[in-house]
Every structure is written in C-alpha cells, then in structure tokens.
C-alpha cells in the first residue's frame, strides 16, 4: 500500500507513530528563571524555549493596545473609548481579568467566534451550483451556533450535537438544529444533474469536514486512492464515509419562541380539516397515486423507456423543496419507502407533491375528482396555519444502502463493500452501534489523540495568527510540525481535563504574558512567540468596526440573514442572482449576518479574504491589495460611515478642532495621537477647508434616504482614519 512506502521514507516505524497520533499526556511544566512574568503554564513553556535560544519574552504591551487587542480578539469589535479609559484608570490587580470576564460574557462573543466555525462548515444561504437557489432557513443553524458559543457549551457536547444531535435520546428541537452543521454542503438542482452523484459529493464533503475539522486529517485525499502521505487507506475513507452515508437531509418544523404556542395549538384543527377534505376521495386518490408511484419507480429502474416519466422521476429529485432550503432528496426517500412504513408527515408531504401532478397519470380522472380544487383548498388550509419557521437538519436514513469503495473515486464504479469504522491508526471505536452518535463520542473520547490538539491549535491560531501547528487543517505527516509540541500537548490535556471548557481555555490564553506581549520589538521570528503579531482584521471585523465607531451599527443579535447595500454588478455575475438591499437597520448589522450567495458572495467580504463559501477553510488569508484600498476609500458604505462619524463628532460639546481631532482619533484607534500625527491631521483639516470653500458641503442622499449635510473637511478626516493600516489591524 502506498502509505507504507511513505512511512518508510519518512523513517517512522510502526512503534513510533507520527507525533499527532500519539496519546496526549500532561507534560511536565518547565521551570524558568523569569517567574515574575510567568502568569501561567503557557508562559513557562514559551519562556523556557526562548531561554534555550538566548531570547526573552517581549515586554507587555501598553494598556490601550491590550484592551483593543483582547476586545477585537474576543468579541470582534473595537473597545469603546469609555471602556479604554476605564481599563487605563483601573489600578486593581485584577483589572485585566475583569475585562476578559466581561468580554467572555458578552453576547457579541458568540457572534465573533461563530465566524471561524462557519468557515469550517462553509455556511451559506444558498444551494450553490448553477441555480444557486435560496436557503431561507439556513440561519437557524447559525443562531444555534451563536447561542451554543455564548452559553459556553463544552466542546464535547458541541461536537456531539452538531454531528449527531438528532440521535441523542429524546433529542430536543435545538439538538436537531445543531446538525445543520452537516447541511452546509451544496445542492445541485440543475436539470440533468444526477442527484445521486451530487449526494455522494455531499457525503464526501461531510466526511472531509469530520476529518479536517476534528482530526486535522485531510481524509478527502483518500477518496480516490490510498492517502499518499498519511496512514489512511481508501477503504478507511469509505468506512468513515459510511457513518455519514447513512444520514439523510430532513427539514423540520422548529418554531421560534413566539411561534410555538399558536402553531402547536392550531395543528390539531388543521389535521382534522385536512382529513375531512381528503377522506371522501381517499381511496380514489390512493389508487391514482399508486399508479403515479409505479410509473416513477419503473422509470427509475428502467430509464430510457419513457422520457416523460424519466423526467418526472428526475424532477422529484431536483425540485423538491427548492428555494426553501429543504433536503432535495426527501421526495425520493419517501418514494423508496414502503407506503406502510411512511409516517403521517411523509404521507402528507408526498400527497401535497403528487396532487398537482395527478393529471400526468390520468387527466380525465383527476378532473373528475376535482383534484386541482382539492389541491387549492389544501394549499389554502396550509396557508392559514400560523407561521412556523423550519430548520435544516439530518436524520438517520430509513432506506439504508450498503456503502462501498468508489473505485478511483467514481461512485459508479463499485468496489468492496464496507461497514462504518474509524481509521486503524487511531484508538478503536469499541461500541457495537456504528452511527454518527458513536462517531461523535469517539471523536471526543479523552484518549483520542487528535481532537483536543486540533481544537486548541485553532484557538491559538485566532490569538496569534498562526497555530502551534501552522497547518491548522493538516496534522498529518505532510503538515507542519508543532513549534511548541509540549505546550500544545499541555493545552490539549488541560482542555480535556477542564471538561472541554472553551471559554476557560481562551481565558487561559489571553491572560498569559505570552499573549499580552508587545508586537513592537524583537526579531521577526514569529513562531518563537518572542512577541505578539499584528494581524489584519477579518472582513467582518473591518466592516463591524466602521459601523460601530460611526454609530451606524445595529447591534441586534440573531435572526435571518440580511443584504447590506452593494453594487448591482456583484450579484449580476452569478446566474440569475439578484440582491434586494435590506431596509433600515438591517443594512448595518454585523457582517456575520450578511447573506452568503455562493455564486456571487458579498464583494466587500471577498475583497478582504472571506473564504470561498463552497469549501472548508481552516485558516483565512490576510492579504493586502489595492482593491481593499479602493473599498476603504470609496465604498459608499464606508463613505456613509465617515459622514455619520463626522455627524457624531459634530454633536460633541467641544468645538475646538484640536479636541475634536483627539476625540475622533481615540474613537477609531483607541489611543491618543502623537504630536506628528496631530500635525498631519491639522494640516489636512486646513487644506480641506481651503478646498471645500470651493466645492461646498458633502450633500447627497444617504443610503437610507435621509440627507446629510456634514462639513466635508471632517467627513474626509474621518475617512482618513478608516483607511489607516492601524485601523484595519489588531496590534
């Protein structure tokens, strides 16, 4: 096998497996000479490494920079000037801990930390591919995620609910909602697409996510052949795939708090009326539907005989629930089920699909039975039900099929049959039942060598720009080696010991001296952790910061996705896409809530390196391009924010230029300007005033239709601050 060769090449014997597959043990915490600056164990590991190289940890950063850093890192927004001042003035020894505790308890914490997790499952509000239809309830999963993060859900529970919440005993609606993680795969509804081919792609995507997100294993590489570098055979890939192959997409009624009561109290009456409408015709409808189903099944089993029925069968697989974000194969799944085994809900849903098509099997009969009238009445009845919001989830399949190896990655080329199993290089899965729940529990079992390492490494990456293992998505033999292996193991062991407490781990990291170092000094060897690293803010952070500082921000939490204003030319590049700008405050929500259209994603986000929403992303890039400059300079939203900031400044009591410049500088950058900086801004103000006497005030309609009439000199000055490297950077 190929992996055996590569293992030999790398000189790794079976007795000493690759570092990441070895069990995690608490390593001894090294002793160091610099106890004074060692806040916690993290520092002892880091300092002892630095000492070996004759280096010392950098001095702590100043308080303004520190609170800006930790606020951006924990809630994704800059601190308010008051928060900065309070912290600077707070002489209590635990002043910093208090800030950290406040931030970890903020409802905006979950909004910020949801984003990297959504990158992993490549969340979007549309199906992808040619038709890229909408998924209007995709946000339910995002809302679950934000809530779980804010509530401090332990990482093991977090894992289990997202991979198998539906399989938990007495699963709640919320736990089912969590499986929306697995519903972020693409759906192809293009006419002529083979739904089985694209279902296989979804299962491969899900399997790759489990591999990469929890285990840092690029298992997807083994879908066509044995992994070239890691000890995963192609058969093992399909054994892992088998866990997810047995899961079907299903949307459920998941009433929001204010919908629950009215909806549930209306249901019995609805069902009674529905029955009353159907019962008189039940037998004849049944007979017609059976003929229809026979036609479809025969087309499925013998394609090419009657193109009309071929097409009807195909359509069930393509259009079912389209535009509503429903599982596209649900119709097929119901049709495959023995009618006696169908639930009432499944029968109802299939009948609702069938009725308007009854004339395809016998037009005469359908007319005689007045089925189109019945359909209209049922539709009216459904319409009268109080609104209930649905959610995309997963369920264990009711029509299990044998999983097999896809030879050379081709699902039509059947290889060996396989059963669900975990890769042999990892601890065995020693339970009889092989389902997603046992898989999820296995991932977070304390003896799993990868899950905790991979999870703490990704957290570390958020705080230092780079993980202890630089390749956050690849802990395999071709991934980077950890720069601080003992620190990584200590963090992983501590994470497990704490009961997978995410916030505790983050608190530990941000209260270390290592985190609190200055970015300014030291050699440029970032991986030695000899200093903190300046990081360009994410796309969402940049937009959120501008909105917050300018006062435009609408801070409401949760809810459906929104469409902030952007040029029409962006959505026009996707097939048939359109972009109807949201109204009012919805234009100014955090970037997290911006609608993600897979074929034409929000331009500002893409310009600032938001990942392609079709693909797992474990590490965002931080580029520095001229399109970013053009966006910060000229995007109407940023211009509007500059005007709003100027207006906010204009309302200040103090009218002295110097004071105002200092004030707006502090709002934007959380610090006072230096003398040189003040001089530049003063000079700018003078120049602009001279110039604007010629051009007049910046008067034009705002995005929201209201007119602003600000002093153009101040508008431009505010815009200058938004454009500074420092504004888009966390130091």
């Amino acid at each position: 096998m190929i992996f055996a060769v590569s293992v030999n090449c790398l000189g790794v014997s079976a007795q000493s497996p690759h570092w990441a597959y070895r069990p995690i043990h608490f390593p001894g915490v090294p002793d160091t000479d610099h106890r004074a600056i060692n806040n916690n164990a993290i520092d002892q590991f880091v300092v002892s490494r630095l000492e070996q190289d004759g280096l010392a940890i950098s001095s702590p950063t100043d308080r303004e920079t520190l609170i800006r850093r930790v606020t951006l890192d924990l809630i994704g927004l800059p601190p308010t000037p008051d928060e900065v001042q309070d912290f600077v003035d707070d002489i209590r020894p635990d002043a910093y801990q208090r800030v950290v505790d406040r931030l970890l308890a903020s409802p905006h914490y979950g909004e910020h930390w949801a984003r990297p997790w959504l990158d992993l499952c490549h969340y979007a509000d549309t199906d992808g591919y040619l038709t890229d239809q909408t998924r209007p309830v995709a946000w339910r999963y995002r809302a679950w995620l934000v809530d779980a993060l804010n509530a401090g859900m332990s990482f093991d529970q977090f894992t289990i609910e997202q991979l198998a919440g539906d399989l938990l005993p007495d699963a709640t609606t919320n736990q089912k909602l969590a499986t929306g993680f697995l519903r972020q795969t693409l759906s192809n509804r293009e006419g002529g697409a083979d739904p089985e081919e694209f279902r296989v792609k979804q299962v491969i995507d899900r399997t790759s996510m489990v591999g990469e997100v929890w285990m840092g294993l690029t298992v997807g590489c083994a879908r066509c052949h044995d992994h070239k570098y890691d000890e995963i055979s192609q058969k093992e890939f399909y054994q892992l795939y088998a866990f997810l192959d047995a899961a079907d997409e299903i949307n459920i009624d998941a009433p929001l708090a204010d919908e629950q009561e009215s909806y549930e109290s209306a249901l019995p009456e609805y069902h009674r009326k529905r029955r009353a409408l159907i019962v008189p015709l039940a037998q004849e409808i049944d007979a017609l539907q059976r003929r229809w189903e026979d036609k479809l099944r025969s087309a499925r089993n013998n394609p090419g005989r009657e193109w009309f029925w071929d097409r009807q069968w195909e359509l069930v697989g393509l259009v079912w629930g389209g535009g509503l974000g429903e599982g596209q194969l649900e119709g097929w799944q119901i049709l495959r089920l023995d009618p006696a085994k169908r639930s009432r809900l499944q029968k109802d849903r299939l009948l609702d699909y069938f009725l308007p098509k009854a004339d395809t099997v016998d037009a005469e009969k359908a007319k005689q039975l007045k089925l189109s009238e019945l359909n209209a009445e049922l539709k009216k009845l459904r319409g009268a039900l109080p609104k209930v919001t649905r959610a995309a989830t997963m369920m264990e399949t009711q029509t299990p099929q044998t999983t097999f190896v896809h030879l050379a990655g081709d699902f039509r080329d059947r290889g060996e049959d396989v059963m669900a199993a975990t890769p042999s290089i990892l601890p065995p899965l020693d339970v009889e039942r092989r389902d997603r729940l046992s898989l999820a529990r296995w991932l977070v079992s304390p003896n799993h060598p990868l899950t905790a390492r991979v999870a703490v490494n990704r957290m570390w990456q958020q705080f230092f720009g780079q993980g202890i293992v630089a390749t956050a998505g690849d802990f395999g033999t071709r991934g980077s080696l950890p720069t601080h292996p003992k620190l990584l193991d200590w963090l992983a062991a501590e994470f497990i010991r704490s009961g997978w407490d995410v916030k505790a781990m983050q608190r530990l990291i941000v209260t270390s001296s290592t985190y609190r170092q200055s970015t300014l000094s030291g050699p440029h060897n970032d991986s030695s952790l000899v200093r903190q690293v300046p990081l360009r803010l994410s796309a969402e952070q940049i937009r959120d910061s501008v909105l917050q500082v300018s006062g435009l921000w609408d801070s409401r939490l949760g809810g459906p996705s929104v469409k902030p204003s952007q040029p029409d030319s962006v959505s026009e590049q996707g097939y048939g896409n359109s972009w109807e700008t949201s109204k009012g405050g919805d234009q100014y929500r955090r970037g997290l809530y911006t609608w993600v259209q897979r074929t034409s994603p929000f331009a500002m986000h893409i310009t600032f390196d938001a990942p392609n929403p079709n693909h797992i992303c474990t590490h965002r890039e931080r580029s520095n391009t001229s399109l970013q400059a053009l966006t910060l300079l000229n995007d109407p939203v940023f211009h509007q924010a500059a005007k709003a900031l100027a207006r906010r400044l204009g309302k200040q009591v103090n009218t002295d230029d110097q004071q105002r410049i200092r004030q707006v500088f502090r709002w934007c950058l959380s610090r006072d300007p230096s003398r040189d900086e003040l001089a530049v801004l003063n000079h700018l103000l003078q120049q602009l005033r001279d110039d604007s006497q010629v051009t007049g005030p910046v008067a034009e309609n705002d995005l929201d239709g209201s007119s602003l009439d600000e002093d153009p000199a101040w508008v431009v000055l505010c815009s200058v601050l938004f454009n500074l490297h420092e504004f888009v950077t966390r130091n």
Binding site: G574, N614, S626, L627, D676, A699, L724
Partner: protein
C-alpha cells in the same frame, strides 16, 4: 517553484524615511505621477518563465453553457441520414452518463456549412465573421472533459478539477509569470451583458489556495469598471489628493514607530489603487479609438456593442501588459429552441470575436497573444429528451466526450483542424485533446512547464493539470 521574494526592503525603507522626514515631503500625488515607480504588490512582479515563451498574454473567450459544435463547426452528413432515428447502439455501448438517454433521436443540424480559408475550415452560416479568420485559427474537434454538468465542468476547464478551492488558470499564470501591468491588475475578468451571469460565478476566477493577489479582478459592465473605483460624490480631486497624502503620511509615521512591514505593503497598495483610479477610466474610454476600430468590433451595432466593447477592452488590456484576460459570455445552454437562441448568441459575439483576432493581427499583437474560444463541453448529436421534441423547438443536451474549441495566435499554428471524431461526432477517433492537455499547451505557449508550475498545499505539490495533461505539440508553430 518558490514564491517570489520580498521587495528590496532596504531601499524602500530608506526611501520612506527620506520622504517621511518633515511633513512637507513629496506629496503622494507627485510620487504617484511618477510612472517609473514600480511599487506593485510583491507577488505580481514580473518573473522569468521556465523556457522561452511563444505568447506573453492570453485572452480566453469563455463561451459558458456549451455552444453546439454540430451547429457551428462540425458538419456531419451521417446525421442527416439518421435524422429522427434512434442513435445506433454502437455509440451508446459502455456509456454511463447522467444525460445521455437511450431514447434520444439523432437531430441533424438545420444549418448550412461551407469551407473557409486556404485551409478549408468548416463553419456554419451562423459564424460568417469568425469564418474569415480560418487561416489564423486552429480548430480542435476532439476536446473532451470529465464531467457533464455546467458548474463542475467549468471548474475543470478553469481550475483543472471539478472541485472547489483550486486556483483558476489566470491565477496560475499570474502566479507563474507576474504581471507587466504597472497600473492595472494582472488578471482581469469581463462578463457579457446577457443578463444571465455565469453558472459557476466567482469560483471560476478564484485564487483557490494561491495568495489572493492572484485572484482575478472583475471589470464590471455596470457602474464602476473596477468595484469602488470612483471617488465618492462631493469629494473633489483636491480633497482626494489631501486624503491620500494624509493616509500615506500617517501610515509612514506608524511604520517609523513600529517597523511593521505590512504597512509598507499597505502604502504600496494605495499607490496602485491610485494609479488604477487614474488609468482604468482611461482604459475603458473607447472614444479615442478610430471609427474603423469601432466598426471592426461592432460597437456601432446594438447586438454586438456589448461583447464588442469587452473584446476591444481585452485588446487594450493586453497592450497595457495585463497578462490574462477572460471574457465570459453566457449562456449557450440550448436545451430547447436551439436554432433561435444559438443565432442570438452568434449575432452578439461572432463579429466582435473576429474583430479582435483581426485587430490583434494588424497591430502585430496576435503573435504574442494567445486567443482561446470555447466552453466547458459540447452538445449531443441527439435532440434533448427531457423537454420534448416539438419540431422547430429542438435542443441538444450536454456532451463531454468530444467537442470543438478554437485557438489563435500566441505560438499556435493557424489554418489547421486537429482531432477527428466518428461519423456522429460522438467520440474522438484521432488526436483527442483532454482539457488537461489544452491547459498544458496553454501554459507551454507562455513558457511554463505545467508539471513545474506547482504550489505546495496540504503537504502536496498541486498544479493546474492535476495529475494529467501533456502538451499537444501538433498545435504549435
């Protein structure tokens, strides 16, 4: 191949120190007016090719949705004989494709064909203008791909694999060679105004795992040619100068204080943004082109105006050193009403595409510019079975096994037809060219070895041609 090295930091630092001393230093506007300033983003600086290139630039006219080879390039008399009859069993043997249905009947093209140029290249009456370029064109008749759905197949053509997250061809090329354009992006995408967008959308011109500076910049057909190119209303040019000067000075002060090199890149990115603001409007201003040129590209006619503008812009871009220009026109996905819809698309694109080739040639640019014309796959010799076969409203389905593409210039031997297919045009019989072979050949024309142009990602060296592809030598001059 290694990533490009950093800017010569020392000289830039000295330069910044000099300009930042005292606030009356050289104004940014003056600095930027100096066209000799080569402060392009570091990844886009020009790099040597692997060997002597035949072409410097590429213009890829991507006909999204799959134009029908049977109604444009491939006369098949046998189809007339079998018209409305089932496809002979021999063609369907061993086929396993979601779209090929046994019940389909052969659908002979209603078009008339004639031979053009000294080489005698076949074109249907729908492409009278491209036909006049026959002796400059190399017609590939047996191109084949791996998949038969639009988006995945478009990914194969552009990124080499039917998966997301892989770099597009233009990204690979600018990663390999950098860009000679000092005030424009190195890789540009232009969309046609058919109102339908492109199936695959932005994933087709993505940078994948390559750094984002290699992502295509969209030139927009509506509003600003580059997103947010225009200074907001109410900000005069004087104010804009003051604004840019202040941004630069404050960034420089910050750089002095921190030594953070990303600030230098930020300053450079603002310089390029400023130069783009100055040069892009000039680029898209076609009023200084002669009337003859306007007519050559069909700018004087409603049907051809839009695509013609894109073609003319493409020429103006390669003149200015833009390395890779891709024009998208959609959609050619004629499942029904093929006769009418195909004509509409041809009427929009035939004259301008031919105009581009002629114009490049008369300006001596065709030798160094590789022009590519084609889509993600072809169409079936049978009529569409899924949506009926009402006479006069027939269409054709997707066909990945053999289809036609055109190449011109850039080291390609014109006036030849490469590749043969069976009497129904169903399968290649000679000189089949897989999409990976085409990609290898395109890179070869640019002086790049497709096996050496690699990027390490997830521990593996990836390339555009995945694990396949070989240069089709017979296409070359």
């Amino acid at each position: 191949m290694a990533l490009p090295t950093m800017l010569p930091i020392q000289s830039r630092r000295r330069f910044l120190r000099r300009t930042a001393c005292g606030l009356g230093g050289i104004a940014l506007s003056q600095l930027l007016a100096d066209t000799s300033s080569k402060a392009t983003a570091k990844g886009l600086s020009v790099r040597p090719s692997h060997f002597k290139p035949r072409a410097k630039n590429v213009i890829f006219i991507f006909m999204s949705g799959a134009p029908s080879q049977y109604d444009l390039f491939l006369p098949r008399p046998e189809m007339q004989r079998l018209h409305r009859q089932p496809v002979p069993e021999s063609f369907l043997r061993n086929l396993d494709d979601a779209l090929i249905k046994g019940s389909a009947q052969v659908f002979a093209s209603p078009r008339t064909f004639s031979k053009h140029g000294e080489c005698g290249m076949d074109f249907s009456d729908y492409l009278p203008h491209l036909a006049t370029c026959a002796d400059d064109l190399c017609m590939l008749r047996a191109v084949h791909t791996d998949v038969s759905n639009h988006h995945p197949a478009q990914l194969v053509m552009n990124c080499g694999v039917p998966l997301f997250g892989y770099p597009s061809m233009g990204s690979w090329v600018t990663y390999g060679l950098g860009s000679e354009a000092n005030d424009l992006p190195g890789y540009v995408v232009l969309l046609s105004n058919s109102g339908e967008g492109v199936d695959g959308g932005s994933s087709l011109w993505n940078n994948g795992f390559l750094p984002s500076e290699y992502r295509a910049v969209n030139f927009r057909s509506n509003g600003d040619p580059i997103l947010h190119l225009t200074t907001p209303k109410g900000i005069s040019s004087g104010m804009q100068r003051s604004r840019l000067d202040a941004i630069r000075k404050l960034n420089e002060i910050r750089f002095q204080d921190t030594g953070d090199h990303e600030i230098e890149s930020r300053i450079a990115s603002y310089e390029l943004a400023y130069r783009m603001q100055a040069s892009a409007p000039n680029l898209v201003d076609l009023s200084n082109e002669t009337r003859a040129t306007h007519e050559l590209y069909g700018l004087d006619q409603e049907a051809t105006k839009w695509f013609g503008s894109n073609c003319l812009l493409a020429r103006r871009m390669v003149e200015r050193g833009v390395r890779f220009v891709q024009l998208y026109h959609s959609t050619w996905d004629d499942h029904s009403n093929l006769n009418t819809k195909l004509k509409t698309n041809c009427d929009m694109t035939d004259l301008p595409a031919a105009g581009l080739i002629r114009d490049l040639k008369q300006r001596g640019l065709l030798d160094e510019t590789l022009v590519i014309w084609g889509g993600e796959f072809g169409r079936t010799p049978m009529n569409e079975v899924r949506r009926g076969n009402t006479p006069g409203k027939e269409g054709r389905d997707h066909h990945p096994f053999a289809y036609t593409m055109l190449l011109a210039g850039g080291g390609i031997k014109g006036g030849q037809i490469v590749g043969e297919t069976d009497e129904l045009g169903y399968h290649p019989t000679k000189d089949a060219i897989h999409v990976h072979d085409l990609q290898a050949t395109i890179l070869h024309c640019l002086g790049l070895d497709h096996e050496q142009l690699t990027f390490r990602h997830q521990g593996r060296d990836f390339r555009l041609t995945d694990v396949g592809g070989s240069v089709a030598e017979q296409l070359l001059v």
